[in-house]
Symmetry: D2
Subunit: 333 residues, 4 copies
């Protein structure tokens, strides 16, 4: 039996709590959140204790692992405290809005010898991971090009955007990770990156210093190509797809839909639009990533999404932000 | 908190146990099965007690409800005992292979004043129930014709078939219920039914006195039409679809697929075949029907699938068997 | 160069004329129609002569072949006159509303030694014929069951229905031919047929003595099964599909659509509804059947759709009408 | 009756000849090609005269219009000669590999007062033009982003590539035109363009000085975004799609397929791969563009694809080639 503390009782914390509650051999002991009410409610629902003070949690020798689902700005501090206390760590992306600070976190984790997994949940989506498996088994030959479509259903509040680090660090960070997972891998990182974008949806986003529509091109050292197109708004639902062109074929990950009803009338044939947003789209992925975390902890195996992956995605996001600002591409050594 | 006893620790019993374990306010107290090992294993997994003797369970005043997932031949006895003991009942389809005995069960339940729901889980499938909702909201006008495709991935063992009551009572019983739910309803029952079929898959099925491929036509009192085509084998997976033609359009329920990967190569474009079999296809439906059972118990509301529905579907299955045997249609008053 | 006379300058005649005009080595010499204006217009468009009197056409020794696209009631007379005059014959379905008279026509054609092809154009539809090819190549193993969906976009005028021979002879005749082509073939004809139906769309159709919604079940001698569902109205366009279940898989022929545009918005994902009606849906089939006619005339090979096929489909239509009237199935020797 | 001369008896010339032959009121008088055999064969097939000497054709006062389907390097000369002779011109893309020379052609055409249409046939594809119509009618609100996928089934011979002007001028020229047609229009041209690419398919292509895989990003003056991904090889067929993201939805143009057969077996569900290559995919588009040319000639209306469009697409192709070479984006005034 492993005892776990959860930091963050918001939207993503609630999902992790419910998934932890279903895992045999896992006991959710603490829920911690500055919003005492939210912490108490979530703790009660799952038979855990609400505990405001993180220090008390880190000092509890009965705690084996922590799950961090708090706002981004608190991630690196919590990771470092958890590492110092010898707790294993599952932390939501990103490690930190600064890639350098993220790198320091990674060093602290390595020094402490604890395990640390970053929640790039998309790598656990059954559709995406099945495509990855087919790719690895050579079903489309050698991969040459990756096209990622990544669109939220609607922009977040401008206040959130203001502290989000910008569209590349907040939203495309997932897509940069997909690029690395699918196309680049450990042997063929990005060599050239060009990004541009606009604020087309809401002038308030521009006033907050961000864009809401972005396109990115990446070329790897070996010459493979990746395009990412992203928008903060897709009126038709959460659009999360990618296509891999290989020498012998194509693998496409289409959107998921709530039902398989098809309606035909005098005007058209209609099917459901894609799942509404990330909580619905990645329901299975969130469940599977937490299972993976504890399985690998148990087995002593490597995580599919390491803190090094977190740092590497962050560096790509930084490069994209720099390219947007300068109007010039960024090259990597 | 409601205490529940589960009868049957096999495939379907295990599913009900897992779904019961997730329901807040529900406590799975007993698991009963003649296979003591299976009962013990399932009970342990969910923190319940294995109890071989049904009588002891019915005598426990702490038990509020029973969930029956045992072989068909035991259903009506268990229903009657549960009713006599004042327990609410959730029972897998069918009530009984004899429609008359099913009707006697219904009477016993009514006399005892307990609630009884029959597990026609398809009415809880999100795709099917969304189609039903759209139909009710008039999205395709007045329904005129229903075409049901119902194919298992592979035939069951011939031993099972021998005691199954035949393809109409064992397999098409679900489709007869869909017919009643979607097309006939309370005001327009079947008036004319014609069935035929063949043994095309395995001669052993014919030797066991059954067929493996069946087609059924039904006309309702008001003239609406229904076709059911069924096979014990679909090499491409579990095929569960229906289409409703209405005066203003069509509603089709397509199959579900494990992933949304599309693979294109020199030969074709490929997507996943349908979900493998009923455990996968109706995963959500099994969860939702048990939730519905306890919600309605709590609320005192009617069940979506009553014991009367169970009897009515049984009568249609009997008629189909009779039509097959005689080569003539059956008419209903 | 072959000289051809076309009988009928209506909707279907115009299609045949345009397709004849494109065929190298074919010269459309005459267009004949009781409506002199229509004949003249069509003749002028394609550089042919309008000629009212069929006798004059049959007496012209320069005419090699006739294409008959006139109303059904005139088919058998024109076939017999053409045969007597030694002209090869392409005739629209059906040969005659009476299967006996159709059989007499077949005898007259055989006696005269002319070639005669019946226009079951669906056998030339690229989608349907590709499915037939795959079936023949064993891609889904042995065929076991055929499900045909056959729905017009809207009912014809009641006046037309009155002289149409009824829904089975006018509309399902095509589906009976598909059944024979796909499932029955030359070695396994229908053994048992049950049909029923209703008038659900327009009471005037019932008053004209016909139904507008029909379902048919057929069992072949070897036990294969076929279901046909048909309606005079599909609000969503012309619905022409069939599915063949085989021992190793399924072949489905889906509908065709005018464009491949997909539109997604806040409500749904929409694609085009099926092609509007038979002129659009079977555009390619009409072209290909006429090409086939002249190719086989040239090569001396057999037609894909013979007058014997016309007679056989007619007998199935008669049986369906009889089954509907009696409420009982029809068995064949 | 308009008399037309066709230059070029190759693949594309043959298509234009067949489409001209079907047009009422159009007479194909001459076919001209340096390959005398090919010219003679095509001329004979359509009842025209083969004529080697272009000068003789231009001097024939009976010729109203010319259709130019010769190799790219001859386009601008033929256009200028035709303009000088007062003939109306339909010319395949591109006008010229040099945008400056293309601009001079446009000036010569304007001076001569003849009509000149450039064969960007994609604007006549029924699927693409239906998407354009929906966009114009506001069905997805304001367009914000365009993603174009453009992949040939297989690379052309390296000899062809050597004189093709490179992938941007030879292949993406069509995509640049789509960008202008769909997203930019007359009021919002490209402001910033970044292109990169690689030779991933065949080293001989790199040796010929070209790439075979390319990605392009464009931002318009108003901030709209376009991504183009292109490859000389798609093992699964000719891949020609685009998607327009608008403020209220998305319009996607999917690929077309030869048939609507769906095959399901123990492994997967399979549909046809896309049409093989441009001759099949754009069959309707080639027919419709020539119809449009003569309709507009007759009506005196503007062409959908002018020589100015040809020049503008060429400038974008030049910019892409320059961006690839320099590794830097290109900005436009």
């Amino acid at each position: 039996m492993k005892n776990v503390a959860l930091f963050g009782a918001g939207r993503i914390g609630s999902i992790h709590a419910a998934n932890l509650a279903r895992l045999p051999g896992i006991h959710l002991k603490y829920v911690s959140d500055p919003m005492a009410d939210a912490a108490q409610r979530l703790a009660t629902l799952h038979g855990a204790q609400a505990k405001a003070d993180p220090a008390a949690i880190f000092q509890d020798p009965g705690i084996d692992a922590v799950v961090i689902g708090t706002p981004t700005t608190t991630h690196s501090d919590l990771i470092r405290q958890a590492a110092a206390a010898g707790k294993h760590i599952f932390c939501e992306k990103p490690v930190d809005l600064s890639a350098d600070r993220a790198q320091e976190c990674a060093a602290a984790v390595a020094l402490a010898g604890v395990a640390c997994m970053i929640g790039f949940q998309r790598r656990f989506d059954p559709t995406f991971s099945d495509a990855k498996r087919r790719l690895s088994e050579g079903e489309i030959g050698t991969p040459e090009m990756l096209v990622i479509t990544s669109r939220d259903c609607a922009p977040p509040p401008v206040d959130y955007i203001r502290s989000s680090g910008g569209i590349f660090r907040d939203m495309l960070i997932h897509d940069f990770d997909i690029f690395r997972w699918i196309l680049a891998g450990e042997t063929d990182e990005a060599a050239w990156l060009s990004a541009t974008g606009s604020s087309l949806i809401d002038p308030a986003i521009a006033q907050a210093g961000d864009i809401d529509s972005a396109i990115v091109s990446i070329r790897t050292r070996s010459g493979r190509l990746c395009q990412i197109n992203a928008s903060r708004r897709a009126a038709y639902g959460y659009d999360q797809r990618f296509e891999i062109l290989g020498s012998a074929g194509l693998l496409a990950c289409d959107n998921l839909r709530p039902t398989a009803v098809r309606q035909m009338d005098a005007h058209s044939v209609r099917i459901d639009k894609p799942e509404h947003f990330f909580l619905e789209r990645y329901r299975d992925a969130y469940r599977l990533e937490i299972e993976h975390f504890f399985q690998q902890l148990q087995a002593g195996g490597p995580f599919r999404t390491t803190i090094a992956d977190g740092v590497a995605a962050q560096r790509l996001a930084d490069a994209a932000a720099q390219s947007l600002a300068s109007g010039q591409p960024v090259t990597f050594d």
